[in-house]
């Protein structure tokens, strides 16, 4: 990594956050309860937990797509709402959400148009971003002409186009096959190192979380809480060999045990989503 940014600075500061969903004046679900989390500049933090643990809700709170019921979310030293209006976010969803009426390049230009950037500057920036995700030669294509993994790379290029303070990724590779997913993981790590962007990454795959992150935030369901934060002491840069290191397996085991302790895996908690997670865990 070149030009190490100030590691002490907090990009995200979440304190005492609760999130309840109500219908007709009555609280229906308590999605999150008593969440405290600090994310420093340049970190890669994964949120992991079974379905229903509120990890996507937490990501949306950071991105100010929903508001907390109690507590505060600060991004770059200001309320999340101000950060969103200041266009400090890049978001990547599980689906690429590319607009089929726009070419690959024009999809990447979308946030630049919203910012009101000059045409020539948009052109340059969009090309830089497509080169970054190694899709430069596909800029004239339309989304339907690309594979799922390539479409997701376009979505990443679009998310990075505004050079955001923070990149929020919501199970971005959940719909991809295992091989493509591993390739995309290496890709994201490369981009993270090249850009130094802070990344918050939601996943339900233990191996993915451990391979990518500097810290893994383990969550438990009903109500969603943070049960443990696991540091990942693996060096950088990481590559395919990292997945075979003993330390990698140790951390995978540690995260799996944290999930089990929180009721996220096997034992006392049952349910389809938990079974799916257990199956995923076995892969690692």
């Amino acid at each position: 990594m070149t030009d190490q940014p100030d590691r002490a600075a907090s990009v995200v500061r979440i304190s005492g956050v609760d999130k309840e969903f109500s219908a007709g004046g009555r609280v229906v679900t308590t999605a999150l309860s008593g969440i405290d989390l600090d994310i420093r500049r340049g970190e890669f933090v994964s949120l992991i937990g079974p379905s229903g643990c509120g990890k996507s809700t937490l990501l949306r709170l950071i991105g100010d797509l929903i508001a907390p019921t109690a507590g505060s979310v600060e991004v770059n030293g200001k309320p999340a709402h101000a950060a969103r209006l200041g266009r400090e976010y890049g978001m990547v969803f599980q689906a690429p959400v590319l607009f089929e009426w726009r070419s690959v390049e024009d999809n990447v230009k979308l946030p630049l148009e919203l910012l009101g950037m000059a045409r020539s500057e948009r052109e340059t920036r969009a090309r830089q971003m497509l080169d970054l995700v190694e899709l430069g030669e596909f800029r004239g294509h339309h989304p339907h002409q690309l594979s799922g993994g390539m479409q997701q790379r376009v979505a990443i290029a679009r998310a990075l186009a505004l050079q955001p303070a923070i990149l929020l990724m919501d199970e971005p590779f959940g719909a991809l096959d295992e091989m493509t997913r591993e390739r995309m993981n290496s890709e994201v790590l490369r981009i993270w190192q090249q850009t130094g962007t802070t990344i918050v990454f939601v996943t339900h795959s233990i191996p993915e979380a451990v391979f990518l992150s500097t810290r893994v935030v383990v969550m438990s369901p009903r109500p969603g809480r943070i049960t443990r934060v696991v540091d990942v002491p693996l060096g950088q840069p990481r590559n395919d060999d990292t997945r075979e290191e003993p330390r990698y397996f140790q951390v995978v085991t540690e995260v799996r045990e944290a999930l089990r302790a929180g009721g996220g895996l096997g034992g006392e908690s049952t349910g389809a989503s938990d079974d799916r997670l257990a199956a995923e865990g076995r892969v690692g």
Binding site: R87, V97, E100
Partner: protein, 284 residues
């Protein structure tokens, strides 16, 4: 015809040569033309073989002769009649489409408007068009082409309004979240997401509307008005037992309808070349 495999992962192949493309087009349209010519031929043969009287079904050759004979002269100048009816249909198409678009935009923007307007629109759609035609003749003047246009407009309004509303509102929720994460204004969401999303819906409605507008215009003509229009020619020639002329008039009405339809198809290729419905039609 085998459809083109999407060129996943490779730059686009060059378009095939002109001669090859024409050859493919001929191969594509040949079956339809063969069926059409075959039906006409069988019809002619059957009329001659069984000596069917022209009052029941005239032979295609007789209809052709009536068409030529009455093209620009005689008691029923067919070309002028078709032109006048097409003019009414087009007028109705424009009025109905504009009204449908206006209501669709209002309804999709303001939920209150939806609740207020939709029941009235559904009620208007439920009115039997045959019943409303004489009333419109009385309102707008029986000899005024506007009375026919309004019948056509009433028929056109509903499919345009319903389809465009659907296109404006049925947007991927993730697309809206994406735009929100960029702090995009409602106006930007409308311009960059909702309107392009609604275009295929609009064009589908417009295709239906072309046929409906002609039906509306001709139904209006049935209930009186200036002669020299397709509806009046049909009524008058049938009562004079000149069924060859009746059939010729119907044929011209159909040709007018097909031309309107094809015009929309061209519009579609120009406006939404990116959409799956248009892409599939590309030969090769």
């Amino acid at each position: 015809m085998t459809s083109a495999a999407p060129s996943v992962g490779v730059p686009l192949a060059p378009r095939p040569g002109r001669a090859k493309r024409i050859g493919r087009s001929v191969a594509y349209y040949a079956p339809a033309i063969a069926v059409f010519v075959g039906v006409i031929g069988l019809w002619e043969i059957a009329i001659r073989a069984f000596e069917v009287r022209a009052v029941i079904v005239p032979a295609p050759s007789a209809i052709g002769a009536a068409l030529v004979e009455n093209w620009g002269a005689g008691r029923w100048p067919l070309f002028d009649a078709a032109r006048a009816t097409l003019f009414e249909a087009l007028g109705g198409l424009v009025i109905g489409t504009l009204a449908g678009l206006a209501v669709a935009f209002g309804v999709s923007r303001w939920a209150n408007a939806r609740d207020a307007v939709l029941p009235a629109a559904i009620a208007a759609n439920a009115i039997p068009i045959i019943a409303i035609a004489p009333i419109f003749n009385a309102w707008f003047g029986v000899t005024n082409p506007l009375s026919k246009m309004m019948v056509a407009a009433l028929l056109v309004f509903f499919p345009v309004m319903i389809n465009v509303t659907r296109g404006l509102t049925q947007v991927e929720p993730a697309a809206i979240e994406l735009m929100r994460s960029y702090a995009a204004s409602e106006w930007a969401v409308l311009r960059k997401v909702r309107v392009p999303n609604a275009l295929p819906f609009f064009l589908t409605a417009l295709k239906v509307a072309t046929t409906l507008s002609l039906i509306g215009a001709i139904v209006g003509e049935y209930f009186g008005g200036a002669s020299g229009v397709i509806g009046r020619v049909v009524v008058q020639s049938a009562s004079a037992l000149r069924f060859d002329v009746t059939w010729a008039a119907i044929l011209l009405g159909a040709v007018a309808g097909i031309s309107l339809y094809l015009a929309v198809v061209l519009l579609e290729r120009w406006l939404i070349p990116w959409h799956a419905s248009v892409r599939r039609e590309e030969p090769g």
